[in-house]
Amino acid sequence: MSIFAAAFGFGLVSMSVIAIAAVGFTMQFGITNMINLAYGQVMISSAYVAYYINRAGITIWVGMIAGAFFGAAFSFLLNRLVYAPFQRKGTSYLGMVIVSLAVSLMIANLLLPIVGYFSVSYSEHAGSLVRLGDIVLTNNQIAIIALSVAVMLGIHALLRYTRLGKAMRATAANPTLARNCGIPTQRVIDMVWLITGALCGLAGVVAALNSDSFVISSGAGFLITALAAAVLGGAGQPYGAMIGAVIIGLVTELSAAAWSPEYKEVVAFGILVLVMVLRPQGLLAKRGALAAAG
């Protein structure tokens, strides 16, 4: 049974990585109403920022912080310079999806000549092995899990217990009403882009660290797992995204162990289709933190 125990261990790591990415993505959607398909490219850009810092001989954990800051700044600017002007102009919802796809294509292809076509990886010792029964994980993997848990608790605290979190929920539920109630929605939205951008940057570095190597095109894969987890949990629902991440992370690794690693995406896709058929609005449709009644 130890192959399943090992797979369970990997599942824990992958769900931690996916959760950070998915929560950031789903909050962007839930609060700003923006399906930001450039999210994966911001992730991979941040991963490269961390890579250059790491290559200069600095530990990846510092690079990770830099990646988070870069992701925050990048996302903030992306909204201020591109998305917000289009939204103010009255571009339709689906027009905005196309805008973000165009932006995504541009980022990827502007980066290509800069960072090159060959895959790279961080130089960081995986750390010593830690055994918990049959589960064997490296120190780095445990650090990723711990980091993810801390981030999730932080998001929970932010949404539940802070003024900003309440303002975010109000803005998500009804921006006009929130503005009329004296909530500075513009500032709230700026904060949302900074926070979710930081999550996005962090997720990019963590995802890159967790994979053996990465290239620009890995960004699309990052986006898809985040999207899948977000859609699974009910788009716009942070807690739903967490649950989605747990399911996708575990199921892909367990099915890889049980069947064949080639089919793990197929299994993830199967679950997604099943959820779309049985619960079209996602697992946590109306009861998450950003729901109106919250």
């Binding site: 399906i35 289009f86 571009t91 294509l105 292809n109 502007l110 289709v273 779309m276």
Partner: protein, 331 residues
């Protein structure tokens, strides 16, 4: 510019025109954001391939594995391609279009596109995985010599016939009362429903019709290329077609054709030209091409969101002086 190059250009133009016309029916007229459009083209291509190829146990084909292999003569593979696109549209449409909110539909279809590609890429026994299919027979290759220029003319002719057919069907749909109902649904789905229109049926129909046309375009393309692999139908290909439609003019068939000539054909050719002239490193040009396509989309959405040829305003002939008719069906 040799004949092969010109033929290549024309056939690509034909395939892109067919595809953008189909996308116009779905997105431009009906408002369905089909971000998995390219999957339907791929379905048509794969179907045409396995219908025309011999079984993979055949001597020359044993280096690849795939299902089917029926060695059927032209035009069955092309018809089969269209059919495959239509058939694939049924389950996808039933899952995505029936219950999901429209913004959600777009994401679900994008995810579908990427995962479908991953699945075909990894599941080798099905359609030879990442390596894709090769040595796909060309239409009529047993009857005519496929190496000469005359075969190129023949292929251009066959493509042109298909373009004409699709254009004819698309024009009839767009300019009919049915097309008007589709446009009404695009504008305000709830109101159209309250007027007795069944939006799920309308969308499903357009999904299937568009899927069939996309499948046909794939069949035409694969018959010319003789190879087909997952790397030829990545999701950005769908985005190029959307870009073409936005640039050309959503809801306008002529705009769709114009867009198809401007964006996929135009960009590809400029790129090829730049590469031939050895300007810049070879990998840089395609990358910058994508950047330019992105800028092009943003520019059009900002400055001219209705496109080069906007949807026409339909003015009816005749003066408004008519008698008041009794409107109420008394119970």
């Amino acid at each position: 510019m040799n004949t092969y190059y010109a033929a290549n250009l024309l056939i690509y133009a034909g395939v892109d025109i067919i595809a953008v016309l189909a996308l116009n029916l779905q997105f431009g007229v009906s408002g369905i954001v089909n971000f998995s459009f390219i999957v339907f083209q791929a379905a048509g291509a794969y179907a045409a391939a396995v219908l025309s190829m011999p079984p993979h146990t055949a001597a020359e084909y044993s280096f690849q594995v795939y299902v089917g292999g029926y060695q059927l003569p032209f035009p069955i593979p092309w018809i089969g391609g269209a059919l495959a696109g239509a058939l694939l549209a049924i389950p996808v449409g039933l899952v995505v279009l029936r219950k999901l909110r429209s913004d959600y539909q777009a994401i679900a279809l994008l995810v579908t596109s990427i995962i479908a590609n991953t699945v075909i890429n990894n599941a080798r026994p099905f359609l030879n995985g990442a390596a894709g299919l090769a040595l796909i027979p060309q239409p009529l290759q047993d009857q005519v010599d496929t190496y000469g220029d005359s075969y190129l003319y023949l292929y251009i002719g066959l493509t042109a016939v298909c373009v004409g057919l699709v254009w004819f069907l698309a024009a009839r749909i767009v300019n009919s009362p049915y097309g008007r109902t589709l446009r009404a649904m695009r504008e305000h789905e709830l109101a159209a429903t309250a007027l007795g229109k069944n939006p799920v049926a309308l969308k499903m129909t357009m999904f299937i019709v568009g899927g069939a046309i996309a499948g046909l375009s794939g069949a035409i393309l694969v018959g010319f290329l003789t190879v087909w692999a997952p790397s030829t139908w990545l999701y950005p290909e769908t985005i190029i077609l959307f870009a073409a439609l936005i640039v050309g003019g959503r809801g306008n068939n002529l705009g769709a054709i114009l867009g198809a000539l401007l964006v996929p054909v135009g960009f590809e050719e400029v790129t090829r030209l730049l590469i031939r002239m050895n300007i810049g490193p070879p990998n840089l040009i395609p990358a910058l091409e994508w950047v330019a396509i992105g800028l092009f989309i943003l520019g059009f959405l900002w400055f001219r969101p209705e496109g080069v040829r906007p949807e026409p305003r339909r003015v009816f002939e005749g003066s408004p002086d008519v008698e008041v008719v009794d409107r109420v069906r008394t119970a």
